[in-house]
């Protein structure tokens, strides 16, 4: 309590949250000041130069010199507006470097080489290889994501929501509790990596920002649905381990494989099931809207993974690394998707009530087989031959009661 009060006062001795953990505020500020003082001459020279010019009442119009610029050709919109694809067709703007060397905010295609020595570098930009982030469909997905945004407050016919029987309502609210729990990792993972990606891969950063927005909306809509139906129910330790495995993935491509291709592929199946088993038009609409977003994320995951594999000079070794990663990832994901807080509510909804949970489990077996089939199909599409190594059970890991 005392610590909280100190932090609120902002005293120099208080412990505050930083990106490297909780530390004394005064200490982290000392480091920040020291860093900028260390580079003092570099930015202060710029300031002096500017101050002198302004004091002399002189203008500098060097920025009108287009000698080194890609000045001239004008971007033309296509039928649906001015797309990234349209502006990237102009010479000098659309070429993505295989390895990013601009570790600051200078825009790709601007006149920047002559200023390189005067510019700082951002140490946090660590994902420098294009092949770790690029996907052939990323620009199209970005445009689609913007165009297909929806509003969880306004676009769901909340006023039509009517109470269900207690078992169905609790199953619905438990499913929504679980989905609320898992949705934000799909925002936190891209957020964690987005600020590690240099600006030259701006199209990827743009798409990731839409994924973050999508996941915020999913978390919002499932939380609202639960609270409109009685409340949140139980959180899930198994889901937590899966989410941690995603968030802690050692590389962007590995994490994208685990999150977008595997986990979101599975969640896409859950959403499709959710639409199918929905007992109200409100729930139908929620799941149908969410599954559209999820399918975009899956598409990025498949084609990003494919791009990465196709550009590995040591393909066999790269695939082996991914197999090692998938061996862990699949098992941890399985932990989440065998949790009673997820399986049983879906089975109750599939069956049509608590008394029909066995029938629901039969339906779940079909959903499981379908999911595994689609997961392995997506791996194949990416060029990753996972079928012989897959540690997920081909058939649902439960038996139907006799």
């Amino acid at each position: 309590m005392q610590g909280v009060q100190q932090a609120q006062k902002g005293s120099s001795g208080s412990v505050v949250a930083t990106l490297s953990g909780r530390r004394p505020q005064g200490e982290v500020l000392d480091e920040y000041e020291a860093e900028f003082r260390r580079c003092y001459t570099r930015w202060m020279e710029i300031l002096y130069r500017n101050a002198e010019r302004l004091a002399r009442g002189q203008f500098s119009l060097h920025w009108m010199d287009t000698t080194q610029a890609h000045w001239g050709p004008r971007a033309k919109p296509s039928s649906r507006g001015l797309l990234y694809a349209d502006i990237n067709r102009l010479p000098g703007y659309g070429e993505l470097p295989e390895v990013a060397s601009w570790l600051n905010f200078a825009p790709r295609g601007s006149v920047r080489e002559c200023y390189r020595q005067d510019m700082p570098e951002v140490d946090d930009y660590t994902v420098l290889e294009r092949d770790e982030v690029w996907a052939e469909n990323v620009m199209a997905l970005y445009e689609e994501a913007k165009a297909r945004q929806w509003n969880a407050t306004r676009d769901i016919p909340w006023h039509e929501l009517k109470p269900l029987s207690e078992d169905l309502e609790k199953a619905t609210c438990q499913l929504c509790t679980g989905l609320t729990e898992v949705e934000f990792v799909a925002g936190d993972f891209p957020a964690k990596w987005m600020y590690r990606i240099p600006q030259d891969y701006l199209e990827v950063k743009s798409f990731l920002s839409t994924q973050i927005m999508d996941e915020a909306r999913h978390q919002e809509v499932f939380r609202k649905r639960a609270l409109a139906g009685g409340g949140l129910l139980h959180s899930s330790p198994g889901a937590e381990w899966a989410l941690k495995a995603i968030l802690d993935a050692p590389t962007h491509t590995m994490g994208t494989f685990l999150l977008n291709l595997l986990a979101e592929g599975l969640v896409l199946s859950v959403f499709r099931s959710g639409e199918m088993i929905a007992k109200t038009h409100v729930d139908k609409e929620i799941f149908r809207r969410c599954l559209q977003d999820e399918a975009r994320h899956v598409s990025y995951g498949v084609l990003q993974f494919q791009w990465w594999l196709d550009h590995q000079p040591e393909r066999v070794e790269a695939e082996e690394m991914l197999h090692r990663f998938a061996d862990v990832g699949e098992q941890v994901i399985l932990t989440a998707f065998t949790e009673p807080t997820l399986v049983e509510p879906i089975a109750i909804l599939l069956g049509g009530g608590l008394q029909k949970i066995d029938a629901g489990m039969e339906g779940m077996m079909r959903v499981w087989s379908m999911f595994i089939h689609e997961y392995l199909q997506r791996c194949e599409r990416a060029g990753f031959h996972r079928r012989p190594r897959c540690v997920l059970p081909m058939e649902a890991p439960w038996r139907v009661a006799a």
Binding site: E144, K279, T280, R288, Q292, A295, L303
Partner: protein, 165 residues
Amino acid sequence: MMLHKWQGDSPQSESFSTAVFPSVRWFELLAAEANGQRSRFEHLGYMDCVAEFCVTDVQPIPFVVQVTFEEFGVVDVRIPAANDRDRADFRVEGPLASWRGMLESIARNEGRPDLEQTLNYLTHMGTPMRVTSEDPVRRDLYFRYAQSLQEFFNGSARICTRFAA
């Protein structure tokens, strides 16, 4: 048949057009209905795909039609030629009884199917209808545009549909 991409938000005619399902004419009417609801489809967002719809058990051969969606509307409805099959990103297929059940439900509820008659409900388990594609990325377009595709068929409430025997 090539269609005008969209015709603006025209006031809907009170008299419904009549067509037999399945037929190209019926899908053309549905496309025109969708193109007349541009603001609705704009709100849902871009939809770029070629969807193939198949009624599997009509005689003498299954009925197959390809509908090309672009931006916020339909630009083409056609019976695919033999070399057109790869144009389709995905195929939605099912027996006439299932299609009929969905369309009658939509008509009965004035544009919104019963809970057990949505496209996703009918296709999710692979029975009575199913979605197929050679390419999972192209198949996923069916999911990416799920709401728009449902709204597309919801427009059939404004068509007076007669069913093939």
